[in-house]
């Protein structure tokens, strides 16, 4: 009986792994095949030449992926730096100062976390448009900054674990409030900042709707939209689309292998707040 249960357990795990991996592996296969080979062989047949990188070259140049990666990187860095600055400052004020309307402000953040971002884009678009930001990278940056309530929560929760006696000691020594934030709080917040950078970074790298809606010009393609626009002109050349898809997935694989533990913790922290 025990043996049957064990067997069933491992069988189900292997089956689930196959369900996850097979769809990805066949795309890897396709990405190394020549066009003729792709048409002649079935999807489960491995490529004849594992060093055939022609599709990757075509995808990289025709999809202008370099620009996609550059745009994504710029938006990523500015948004993350902004999120950390804005979020830690707000969390610092919320947990270390007593001031009127504090509960109201906290409530505003709480309620906002319930509003699904996709629903308000109809109206958000008009606002971004009136600011003249449509078709500039700033549209994506301000939206990534402005719609981030989870980051503030993570910072706020973490702030509560930093003993206020530290600030008070520094204040006795004559440090200003901003110095305390800059020299004491910010360095201690590193673990929370790492969490936010990881979950937010992955979310921005993967975001499709915002760049699709606001960054219409091909010069502003981020990797999601660059890949999406690849679909039309190369619709019949699956081996090239497969290569382009792999180019987009590869950085995620690397990041996941390097930062596994942080990613699990970050995702858990981000979703349960």
């Amino acid at each position: 009986m025990r043996h049957v249960a064990r067997l069933a357990k491992y069988a189900s795990l292997v089956l689930a792994s196959l369900v996850v991996l097979v769809p990805l592996v066949v795309v890897v296969f396709a990405s190394f095949k020549t066009h003729a080979e792709y048409q002649a062989t079935g999807p489960l047949t491995p490529p004849a030449d594992w060093l055939n990188l022609d599709n990757f070259v075509t995808a990289w140049t025709a999809g202008d992926m370099l620009r996609g990666f550059l745009n994504t990187t710029v938006i990523l860095i500015v948004s993350l730096a902004g999120t950390v600055a804005v979020g830690t400052l707000a969390a610092y004020a919320m947990s270390r100062f007593v001031f009127p309307f504090k509960r109201l402000i906290l409530g505003l953040f709480l309620v906002a976390s319930l509003v699904p971002g996709v629903t308000t884009q109809v109206a958000t678009y008009q606002i971004v448009k009136s600011m003249g930001l449509v078709n500039t990278p700033w549209a994506a940056i301000v939206l990534f900054l402005g719609t981030d309530i989870i980051a503030i929560y993570i910072f706020l929760q973490f702030m509560q674990s930093i003993p206020p006696s530290l600030d008070q000691a520094a204040m006795v020594d004559g440090a200003s409030r901003f110095t305390i934030y800059r020299r004491i709080i910010l360095p201690l917040m590193k673990p929370a900042i790492a969490t936010v950078v990881i979950i937010k970074g992955i979310a921005i790298y993967n975001e499709f709707y915002i760049p699709f809606l606001y960054l219409r010009s091909p010069d502003l393609n981020v990797i999601s939209t660059a890949l999406f626009r690849f679909k039309g002109p190369y619709g019949a050349q699956w081996e090239t689309i497969a290569a382009c898809t792999m180019i987009v997935i590869l950085p995620t694989v690397v990041i996941f292998l390097l930062l596994q533990r942080f990613i699990y913790n970050g995702v858990t922290a981000g979703a349960t707040k």
Binding site: V22, L44, L89, F99, L106, T119, A123, Y153, T252, A271
Partner: protein, 286 residues
């Protein structure tokens, strides 16, 4: 100076919050009572017309039904995730490997996932080949072209993409239950099922109810996968795709806003209900 200081620190976050969340929600409610193309300087008051159309027009009511596919899929997702979280919480060989594999799809770019599955569902593609290999060749069909099955294919893709998230959340919650409790239970003669029923299940109630909320609001706002894979063709238009088309292709801002308001109200109502039915013991802010 010291009096104004906290406001200075909160101001950037608050201004962003108001500008990009509260003002849009306010505007959206205002737009929803008007007819407007988004360009004209004047809006025509429309009373409740937009709402009447969203709630009665066949075309608009259909998109609510489409959400049911995704809702059902998210329950499948929760069950599958719970199963794997429970079995991986007991000692298992290659545990980290399996955990990594199951979680990995959640990290992938949505467009990439869409393309991976477009490839999978192609006629004579991977799925058809596998089915033939298993001797189920007569079951192959146009997975994305046949309106009877297209939504199932898309919802299945969502399950593939998001199960990893639920799984890791459940696993984290199970592992935060102290090990001594299991040991004590084992001494008392509890089997695996008893352990699940009386230790694990109560320990993860909160995270399951949170997953339910995410499932409902997620299935109502399903967008990326169907938009990327079928663009809403073959009867796969979801609520958000419909709202997107109304707003950005047909320039019916009022109508699209009414849809968004209805969606927002449903999500808020469900969240409120959940808070009432399952009061959160750990509400801790401020």
């Amino acid at each position: 100076m010291t009096k104004r200081q906290p406001y200075l620190y909160v101001a950037p976050a608050l201004i962003l919050l108001l500008t990009f969340t509260y003002v849009p929600v306010g505007n959206m409610i205002w737009y929803s009572f008007h007819r407007w193309d988004g360009l004209d300087v004047t809006m025509t008051p429309a009373g409740l017309d937009n709402y009447v159309r969203v709630l009665t027009d066949e075309q608009y009511r259909r998109v609510f039904l489409i959400s049911l596919y995704y809702l059902l899929a998210s329950f499948v997702q929760i069950v599958v995730a719970l199963y794997f979280a429970v079995i991986l919480s007991f000692s298992t060989r290659f545990r980290n490997l399996f955990k990594g594999i199951l979680f990995f799809p959640y990290l992938l770019n949505g467009v990439a996932v869409g393309f991976v599955f477009l490839y999978l569902f192609q006629p004579d593609g991977t799925l058809d080949t596998v089915l033939r290999f298993l001797g189920l060749g007569e079951h192959t069909r146009l997975w994305l072209g046949d309106p009877d099955i297209a939504n199932v294919s898309l919802a299945g893709t969502s399950v593939w993409r998001f199960t990893g998230l639920s799984f890791v959340l459940f696993l984290g919650a199970i592992q935060s239950i102290p090990g001594e409790i299991y040991e004590a239970a084992e001494i008392d003669g509890a089997n695996r099922w008893h352990q699940f029923r009386h230790i694990i299940a109560p320990g993860i109630r909160r995270i399951i109810s949170l997953s339910m909320i995410l499932a409902i609001s997620g299935s109502l706002s399903a967008f990326e996968i169907p938009f990327i894979m079928t663009g809403g063709a073959n009867g796969t238009r979801t609520f958000v795709i419909q709202a997107y088309e109304s707003a950005f292709q047909f320039r019916q801002i009022g109508l699209a806003s009414a849809m968004a308001v209805v969606l927002l109200l449903i999500v808020l109502l469900i969240t409120w209900l959940q808070r009432r039915l399952l009061p959160d013991e750990e509400v801790s802010l401020s």
